[in-house]
Each structure stands twice: as structure tokens, then as C-alpha cells.
């Protein structure tokens, strides 16, 4: 199996804490991969209009880049990239007419028919690496850390690209358990944070993000783990605005799951780039004596 890594637009800058910590984990786990030497933005959202194929071109180009490298698998860390690439891949695999139109349009590229498998880090760990093997690599179990795993939307919906059952997912909980954390289940784990509505309706996005955080806190969470840079912005970065706006808002430390995994695997905490999180994130880990 040859694995390509597709970074996506945000991971080299604002979400460096996701990329660097994730790649450090994979290195520690001994997973071999190659970052695509050439890639473009996937478009972040999959086009839902039947007559709009031009927006499928960008993700398909990325898949062609992976195929060109001789990879049979491409993995993403960002859940929106996962969704966009996986859906474009399904279209190229299953829709003969659209596949032909897209391939004909991109006459400078080799034809593509969904040959590369698109995975996200989470299902890669479950299906390719395995929980048992991962458990053996844990050096600092996250014992006593009450973590609410937050899926958001694009890892579970729509069904044809869902990493797990959309209505009762277990994947993320299983990962946190494997890392030794105490898993806090909460009903809003699959509720949308408002996503790009932070541009269109920022107040509504703030409201529903606050509801998600309150729900996790009310179920006993002292931290939240997630995987999407946009969720991190809405649920993490905007907590300052929430604390200003709502009297009952409480600070909840937010982590990329890969930052917690890095700590558990004994990776140098510098690779976690906690300076890109709110201060509460590193502070909680220090309080729990999980890092210096």
C-alpha cells in the first residue's frame, strides 16, 4: 500500500497544530506516507448542484496527483477536505456520464475513474492501523481526562462517505478510549457548529456553537477533541466572543485529536503547537500532569 497525504489549504498556516501533531504521530507509529508534491485547494465544500461539474474539477485533480504518484490511498486530516475528496471520488467511480464529461474537459490530465481510496486519519487508524496496535504505542495514557469527542458534520454525512454510522458513531470514542481518556458522550457530538455561516450569519453560528459546548460541559466534559479547522474556529477560537456575549458561557479547552494523540504517544509537545489553541488547552494538560 502506498499512501499519499493531502494537506489542504488551512493546515499549513492556521491549523498547523493539526498538521504538525498528526504527522508527528504517524512518524511515531511508523506509518509511511508521502505528502503530495503538488496539490490544490479542494474547494472546501462539495458542489450540490447537478449541473455544476466545474467545482468537481479541483478535488479530482488532487486525486489524479495521488494516482500519478502510484498511490492507492490518499489520506486527509481536515474533515472538510475528506468529505470533498471522498464525494468527488464516489462521483468519478459511479457516475459514468459525469466521469466522461470531467475527463474530457481535463484533456491535459490522465483519465481518472476513482482508482484511489480516500481515507481520513480516523478511519485509517481504525481500519489500516488497528486499535490494538495503537494501544501498544501509548506511552502516557490520558487517564482522568474527561474528553468529549466532537464529530461535526462532514465525517459522518452524507451516508455514502460516512466513516461510521451517522446516527450512532463509535469511531471517535474508540480512539479516545484507546488513548486512555475518559470518554464523555453528549448528544450534540454530531451537530453542526455553523461552519461557513461564520461569514453569512456569525451570530447564529456563535449561538449554536455555544449550545454544543454547553451540552458537552453539562455532560461532564472538561475538554473537547475534534478534527476540523472550521470547527476549531467556531468552537475554539470564538470562545472569547462567547464569553463576552453569554453570561453562562464557560471556557472549554478544545484540541485537535492529533494533539491529544501526540501527548499520549510521548511525542515532543512542541510538535503540538499549543500556541495556536486558546491558553486553556495547554493549561489543562499541565494541570493533569500530562505535559510540562
Amino acid at each position: 500500500m502506498k499512501i499519499s497525504y493531502y494537506p489542504g489549504c488551512t493546515l499549513k498556516t492556521k491549523a498547523k497544530n493539526l498538521e504538525v501533531s498528526a504527522l508527528a504521530c504517524l512518524d511515531t507509529l511508523g506509518v509511511e506516507y508521502e505528502e503530495l508534491p503538488r496539490w490544490n485547494c479542494c474547494g472546501a465544500v462539495y458542489s450540490l448542484a447537478d449541473d455544476d461539474l466545474i467545482h468537481i474539477i479541483a478535488p479530482v485533480r488532487d486525486l489524479i496527483r495521488a494516482k500519478e504518484r502510484g498511490s492507492d490511498t490518499v489520506f486527509t486530516l481536515c474533515s472538510m477536505c475528506y468529505n470533498t475528496l471522498a464525494r468527488a471520488n464516489e462521483l468519478m467511480k459511479n457516475d459514468e456520464e459525469k466521469r466522461k464529461t470531467i475527463n474530457d474537459f481535463m484533456d491535459e490530465e490522465p483519465d481518472y475513474a476513482g482508482e484511489v481510496r480516500v481515507v481520513h486519519l480516523l478511519d485509517f487508524l481504525r481500519d489500516d492501523y488497528g486499535w490494538d496496535k495503537l494501544k501498544e504505542k501509548v506511552k502516557i495514557p490520558l487517564g482522568g481526562l474527561k474528553v468529549a469527542p466532537y464529530y461535526g458534520c462532514t465525517l459522518l454525512r452524507p451516508k455514502d462517505v460516512a466513516l461510521d454510522r451517522f446516527d450512532k458513531p463509535q469511531l471517535f470514542q474508540k480512539l479516545m478510549e484507546t488513548l486512555g481518556a475518559e470518554v464523555i458522550e453528549f448528544p450534540s457530538a454530531t451537530t453542526c457548529c455553523g461552519a461557513y455561516q461564520v461569514l453569512g450569519n456569525p451570530d447564529a453560528a456563535l449561538d449554536i456553537s455555544r449550545d454544543i459546548l454547553s451540552d458537552a460541559v453539562n455532560h461532564g466534559a472538561e475538554a473537547m477533541a475534534m478534527v476540523c479547522p472550521l470547527c476549531d474556529y467556531n468552537l475554539g477560537h470564538r470562545q472569547g466572543a462567547m464569553l463576552n456575549k453569554y453570561d453562562d458561557a464557560k471556557e472549554l479547552p478544545i484540541y485537535y485529536v492529533t494533539q491529544l494523540m501526540a501527548i499520549a504517544l510521548g511525542v515532543d509537545p512542541g510538535e503540538c503547537h499549543f500556541e495556536l489553541n486558546r491558553d486553556s488547552s495547554l493549561k489543562l494538560l499541565q494541570e493533569k500532569k500530562l505535559t510540562a
Binding site: A44, L48, D51, M80, C153, N201, C228
Partner: protein
């Protein structure tokens, strides 16, 4: 708001257009309201998904194009996975957005974004927001 529905106020053209862009048949909707109950934005929209679907079924062009739902929808697909009729409501919302965006009517004005906002927002927010809310 009461609507006066006669044969003359039903836009068959609009219904066709929604079908063409979304690939979905809105007449399958039996108005159970599961979508409205599932929508994370349901306390913020004035016209909920079920009501939007009803207006689409009835081809009420003016009322439908004035609906706020497509513009507050975050395409989270919760309604899609829960719809008992298997309607991809996110695609219907996309069609309603596209009908306006294709007339060059933007929902957000990019020049109003302040430099500090641009510096603060992650790229993923801007790319996805521009894709959904501008033409």
C-alpha cells in the same frame, strides 16, 4: 403570512428549475417536519426547511426566493440523513441558492470584510463561505 395560491401563482418553471439543478423531486415531501426539527439553525431561520419545501412544492416563486433558509443553511446534511422520504434537502437548498447566485445576487458583500476579520478567519471558512454565499 397567508398566501393566495391559484393556478396563476404557481411557477411551473421554478419547480422545473429546482429539479434540474438539485436532481431532487420536492413533491415527494410529505411535510413531516423531521428536517425542521433536525436543523441546527432552526431557532435562527424565519422559514424552516419543511416550510421551504412546501413553498417549493407549490411553486411559490416570490415567497420561495425571499426565504432565509437556504442562506442560513450550513449544508450540514442532518436533514438529508434523517428524511424519511430520502430527499436530499441540502441539494434543494443549493438549488435555491444557485437560482439567485446565477443572477449575480450575492448574499455577502466581500468588500465589507474588514482586514482584521480576513487576517483572523481560517482559509477554510472563506473558501467555503464564498462558494456558498457569493456568485
Amino acid at each position: 403570512m397567508p398566501l393566495n395560491i391559484t393556478q396563476r401563482t404557481v411557477s411551473e418553471e421554478l419547480r422545473q428549475k429546482i429539479k434540474e439543478i438539485s436532481g431532487e423531486d420536492v413533491s415527494k415531501c410529505y411535510q413531516c417536519g423531521t428536517c425542521s426539527g433536525s436543523c441546527p439553525m432552526n431557532t435562527h431561520a424565519k422559514v424552516l426547511p419543511r416550510q421551504t419545501m412546501a413553498l417549493a412544492q407549490l411553486g411559490q416563486e416570490e415567497a420561495l426566493l425571499a426565504c432565509d433558509m437556504p442562506w442560513i443553511c450550513a449544508a450540514c446534511h442532518m436533514c438529508v440523513v434523517r428524511c424519511p422520504r430520502g430527499i436530499d434537502i441540502a441539494r434543494v437548498m443549493e438549488a435555491l441558492r444557485q437560482i439567485k447566485l446565477r443572477q449575480n445576487i450575492d448574499q455577502i458583500e466581500l468588500s465589507n470584510l474588514q482586514p482584521e476579520e480576513i487576517a483572523d478567519l481560517p482559509q477554510i471558512a472563506m473558501v467555503s463561505g464564498f462558494r456558498k454565499l457569493t456568485s
